[in-house]
């Protein structure tokens, strides 16, 4: 079970920076309890590529055999309270998963522990929360505030709670959000026997930071959004610790090889300081949705003198494309959406970015039935290496009033060992999950 000790003090600090009006708690008490519990099965048809049996030269002491099946249960309870006049809202939400095979995948997180208050033209939120920025579907470049709970799913869309104090200004010229982010969340990684892991085990207890303040560093984020008729625009800025770790080879407990550890034994995540500017735009033109996200990220290259194994290069990246929906196809109530997005990254090193010169093509079928059945299928093709692609299929429907059934499958093809996706090439999987909502 993982609980980051740094989280709670940061969260409490965030909550006390903005004063919590205790008097309101004595008024009409309306507690709203909700949440979901789930069960998940994962099947991996291919043997893990990091199995000891595949890597006789590996210096790993243990006998590694990556899992073939994983069963897990999850719970996400939520408690909400709102003052009688609706001006104050407190939300508490926790998430936990217990995994039968990978102890690193079993984890607990506070997704939300926040207080919100507002007026006509402003809003303040303090505590642990989550924000989503962006408009594209195949990847989310602009969405930077929350750390990925990567152990949940390889697409990185599940997020850990982030301590924050947020001030929003609601004006005619747009919506401006200013964030002070005290406290950093480290990314979660699968264990040695888990899937979607790196070539070496991650030294998750010894994360490295460029900043001396480490995970207490206070980060800053800003975002302005506005709607101009059919166009929704966003401009964002982030300054602080990058949520995306770089990896530094560790030789036992040292950064340098030694007689006891001549070859790397683990990879330590390194969180460097960055500045990032982001821009996102959506044009909603009848059945056509045109979407664009682009970022420019700069580094402080002093970090290269701290860690000789690392090289940082400022880079830009973009994702853009469209979604066109055919409503009521073939005289039915079904809607079929066709999606295409191009992914670009200026970094020449394909081992850092998945979406370098890639095209995502997909379809979304909504049956518009009482069960809210939907199917999403898509393919991501590397345009530099035709043998490198991934295919995904995801379907969901409702059983009865309260149960959602979700089936998903992901298939990886990768012949290019320079590419990031090469690490996952044996991790094709099928997953079935049932979630009960209350």
């Amino acid at each position: 079970m993982k609980r980051k000790p740094g989280l709670l003090p940061s969260a409490l600090m965030a909550m006390f920076v903005a004063q919590v009006p205790v008097s309101y708690a004595l008024d009409a008490f309306e507690l709203d309890v909700s949440g979901n519990i789930g069960a998940q099965w994962r099947e991996f048809p291919n043997a893990g590529q990091y199995n000891s049996s595949n890597n006789p030269a590996s210096s790993d002491a243990g006998d590694i055999e990556q899992v073939r099946h994983q069963f897990s249960i999850s719970a996400e309870p939520e408690l909400g309270w709102q003052s009688e006049d609706g001006l104050h809202t407190v939300v508490l939400k926790a998430f936990g998963r217990w995994d039968s095979e990978d102890s690193e995948r079993s984890h607990v997180d506070i997704r939300e522990a926040s207080w919100l208050t507002y007026g006509d033209s402003w809003e303040v939120k303090a505590g642990i929360s989550k924000v989503f920025w962006g408009v594209t579907e195949s990847q989310h470049l602009v969405d930077i505030v929350n750390q990925s709970d990567f152990v949940e799913a390889p697409d990185g869309e599940d997020k850990l709670g982030q301590p924050m104090v947020k001030l929003s200004l609601i004006r005619d010229w747009g919506l401006m959000d200013v964030f002070v982010l005290p406290g950093f969340r480290e990314r979660t990684f699968a264990g040695e026997d888990g899937r979607f892991r790196l070539p070496l085990d991650v030294d998750r207890d010894n994360a490295l930071y460029q900043s001396d303040d480490e995970d207490k560093h206070i980060d800053l984020a800003l975002r302005w959004t506005q709607t101009f008729d059919l166009y929704d625009v966003g401009v964002s800025y982030f300054k602080g610790t990058s949520r995306d770790p770089l990896f530094v080879p560790m030789f036992g407990n040292d950064l340098q090889p030694s007689v006891q550890a001549p070859a790397p034994t683990a990879l330590a995540p390194l969180y460097v300081l960055i500045d990032q500017v982001g821009f996102d735009l959506q044009a909603t033109l009848d059945a056509w949705l045109w979407k664009l996200e682009t970022i420019y990220r700069t580094f402080d290259d002093d970090v290269e003198s701290q860690f000789s194994a690392i090289e940082v290069d400022d880079y830009s990246a973009a994702t853009g494309g469209f979604e066109y929906t055919f409503y009521g196809v073939a005289d039915t109530d079904w809607d079929l959406g066709a999606l295409a997005e191009y992914q670009y990254d200026s970094r020449s090193d394909a081992s850092l970015a998945l979406g370098q010169n890639d095209l995502f093509v997909g379809g979304r079928l909504a049956l518009n039935d009482a069960e809210s059945t939907e199917v999403l299928f898509g393919m991501s093709q590397d345009l530099d290496h035709m043998a490198t692609r991934s295919i995904l299929l995801e379907a969901e429907t409702r059983l009865g009033d309260s149960i959602k059934l979700n089936v998903e499958g992901l298939l990886f093809n990768s012949a290019d060992d320079d590419n990031l996706s090469y690490q996952f090439r044996q991790d094709d999987y099928i997953q079935l999950s049932l979630e009960y909502y209350y």
């Binding site: 809003e123 929003s168 909603t284 009848d286 059945a287 009482a370 009033d401 959602k404 909502y437």
Partner: protein
């Protein structure tokens, strides 16, 4: 002689006063009569300023199996344009917290945003799909949007009795080429201009659905609202009942209650 004259004058004045309640449709073409009735219906519904309501929708399939949808709606009347609306879904539980913000417009496409609470994501969606089912029910988006004169061309078809009331029978042909209907026939009672029944004809001009209105209540001494609406699909044998559990007008909602910030905040 004088008494008789006074009596006759009084009676004529009284009769004239009574006829002043009913619409004067004499000398108009069927199209003009239809428009006059529609205008009166629209006029009677102006000035409600804002409303908050909670509704329950019961979906029934051909086998009679039911699914329930519950939602709360806030609406704001906008001068010279369509209404602004914020809908928060409560049931089914897996969509609880999902919210929908809509700025409807008379002369252009509506602006619509959807808030997905699990992802905390606001998505602007296409409003072109008026004819699609709302939440899997027999009501489409266009069925639930506000009645505006610019959306139809009208024609008076005659008078009939529905629900025991004398009604005008009006044909409405949607002007929006993306509408799912080629025509609608509306029965509106002559006394209060309340829709009692609507027949919907699909793109093949066949009778598709019938909507009946029940249990009209009067609010603020002026606005009639049906507490119960029932849509039956004659082709699929499915039906949806929409019941209003609570409704309040002039609750003090303003423009600032309908934007992306309030959408994300909605609970």
């Amino acid at each position: 002689m004088k008494l008789l004259k006074t009596l006759t004058t009084s009676m004529m004045l009284l009769t004239a006063a009574t006829f002043a309640q009913a619409l004067d449709l004499s000398g108009k073409t069927a199209e003009q009569q239809g428009l006059a009735v529609a205008q009166e219906r629209k006029n009677r519904d102006l000035g409600w300023s804002d409303s908050q309501s909670s509704v329950i929708m019961t979906l029934r399939n051909a086998q009679g199996e039911e699914s329930i949808r519950e939602m709360r709606m806030k609406s704001l009347e906008v001068a010279d344009d369509g209404d602004k609306g914020l809908t928060i879904f409560d049931k089914p539980k897996d969509v609880s917290g999902t919210a929908f913000l809509s700025f409807s417009h008379i002369d252009k496409a509506d602006d619509q945003w959807l808030y997905l609470p699990a992802l905390k994501r606001v998505k602007r969606i296409s409003s072109r799909n008026k004819s699609g089912p709302f939440m899997g029910s027999e009501f489409s988006y266009e069925d639930l949007s506000s009645f505006e004169l610019e959306k139809y061309s009208f024609k008076m078809l005659g008078e009939e009795q529905v629900n025991g009331l004398d009604c005008y029978k009006i044909e409405q042909i949607p002007t929006d080429k993306y509408s799912g209907y080629t025509r609608q026939v509306v029965w509106m009672d002559k006394a209060e201009f309340r829709a009692q029944k609507i027949d919907f004809y699909d793109r093949k001009k066949a009778l598709l659905k019938t909507l009946t209105f029940n249990d009209y209540q009067l609010y603020l001494d002026k606005y009639w609202r049906p507490m119960s609406m029932s849509m039956v699909n004659h082709q699929t044998k499915k039906s949806t009942d929409l019941k209003t559990l609570s409704l309040e007008f002039k609750t003090g909602l303003k423009d600032s209650d309908f934007n992306k910030a309030t959408l994300k905040r909605a609970r």
